[in-house]
Amino acid sequence: MTLLRVDELTVRFRTEDGPVLAVDAASFDVAAEEVLALVGESGCGKSVTALALTRLLPRNATVAGTVTFDGTTLSALPESALREVRGRDVAYVFQEPMTSLNPVLTVGRQIGEVLRQHQKLHGAAARRRAIELLDLVGIPLPARRIGEYPHQLSGGMRQRVMIAMAVACRPRLLVADEPTTALDVTIQAGILDVLRDLRTEIGMAVLLITHDLGVVADIADRVVVMYAGRTIETAGAPALFARPSHPYTRGLLDAVPNPARHADGGLREIPGRVPVLADSPDACTFADRCGRADETCRRHRPDLSPGPAGHPVRCWHPLPVPEPAVPA
């Protein structure tokens, strides 16, 4: 069952340097209880996409396209109705827990706010529930932690607080924007475990925004790869890792540090950077960085269509499916 449908989502920013096209007609679905990873380099539009779902973008953004959640067209809802959705049905966890939590309010107060807003829980009842939630995300001594401020907690604990706040109303969809990026590697695994457990326990879908393919391999069911605001490849996680069709996806996979593969020394990187576009070009946006690009790529916009590996890819010259290794 499709829980979230994003259709031709386009986001433009008015900036002092002129208009910037951040998301270019992105389309994807998230099924109920599924973990969908939205993957790409910094600046590819994945975070903007996440915020645009419930119109959390700053005022200089204009959003087009439709976002449908559980049969409701969010993009058509007035702000007051959308407020009911935020935090209750669609909840967010952001990248940097230190700045994403309010420094002058206690942890308990910040969790309590969600409970009061959506479940009309006050006073002792809200406090009890907040303690339960802290316990749920694996924070020791929750009854004491509830009276503490963000600066008194470690980075991992802060992110657990963010998660507790997000799942307070048992949302149907959790949008986790780089939830482990700001944390130590040793802490990351713990946070992913919490997300995985909660997903099963609450039965929520997770839209995971990340550039870390290790995280994707760890937790994602399906993957959408974004590049320069466009969705360029969609596949089940195992299929994407085994048979990437877009040269950019291949490049991302090759850039993952792997001691065994890179024994000859050095990481392989994709030359160049993600372009900042004012408008949607009639070309492949990756052409300038792509070894396989030709005139077609520079003159015509590729569509997202089934590729050689069976899943959708936006490329004129997708990679062939690798031959299965023949045992000697």
């Binding site: 915020l51 419930t54 959390l56 700053p58 005022r59 407020r83 009911e84 959705v85 935020r86 935090g87 209750r88 909840a91 967010y92 952001f94 940097e96 700045t99 994403s100 939590l101 309010n102 420094p103 002058v104 309010l105 206690t106 706010e113 969600v114 807003q117 959506h118 503490e148 401020y149 600066h151 008194q152 963010m162 706040m165």
Partner: protein, 318 residues
Amino acid sequence: MRRYLLRRLLESVVTFVLVTIVVFLGVRALPGDPARTLAGEESDPATVAQIRHDYLLDRPLPVQYARYVLKALTGDLGRSARTGLPVRSTIGHALPVTLQLAMFAMVIAVLIGVGSGVVAAVRRRTATEWAANSVALLGLSVPNFWFGLMLVLVFAIAFPILPASGFVSLFDDPVQSFRHLLLPAIVLGTALAAVIMRQTRSAMLEALSADYVRTARAKGLGGSRVVLGHALRNSLIVVVTIVGLQLGVLISGAVVTEQIFVLPGFGKLTLDAVFTRDYPMIQGVVLVTTTAYIGINLFVDLLYSVIDPRIRVGGAVL
């Protein structure tokens, strides 16, 4: 937290001692012989010598200083050279006038300043912000004396609904006190409101673009909860700082406003003391003013720790 308090208190005491030394030496450094001034212009050398002896003016400076501090600590600030009345009771009459005026003006300033600052930040790049900014600029640039005179012309003379001058204490007759202080408080308050508005606006703009405000919106909180509960809460440090600084200014010198509205306040007292070279009075006035400044600063620092838990708990910031 306790250590923070203790340290701030100790710093205040040190500041206070330094201030008394500077005030003491400053008055001694002024040209003229205080004994001669005290004795009056046409007095014989014997009287002057007597006064010099009575006031220990013939003793070394450290002795004089010790005596000055000891007397000041017991509340004895000497007698006015002009009226012969005790400095302490003269200040005691003038200070409540200025304090009540300052508090009233500050309430007006905070209500207008914080309110319009928040609105200007929230309604950024709209006609509302433009209007708020323009009014603030007007408030900053219109001179107090002109604005005060205009208010008197309109509300006391053209439409005589408020008194043009005089003072009634809040504790004697609250209604009359309000009527007498309203116009001068508006004059002082609007000028301060402009300063507070601009500071609040810039602090709010920063807070509104912070990550935690995005989190608050993502939780589904309503606009006023986000703006007041999250952004303004974080901007309060700036507001408290500016209010504290301005309160000190208000107490030490609402001179022009007090003159216009003929209020027997501290500003007027200071001015009279300076004009008549009433050294004991100047010394007393400066002492009270600096004490007020030190007290307000200490209070503001204590408020910081109430507002910002990063100062209160753990004390890692300071």
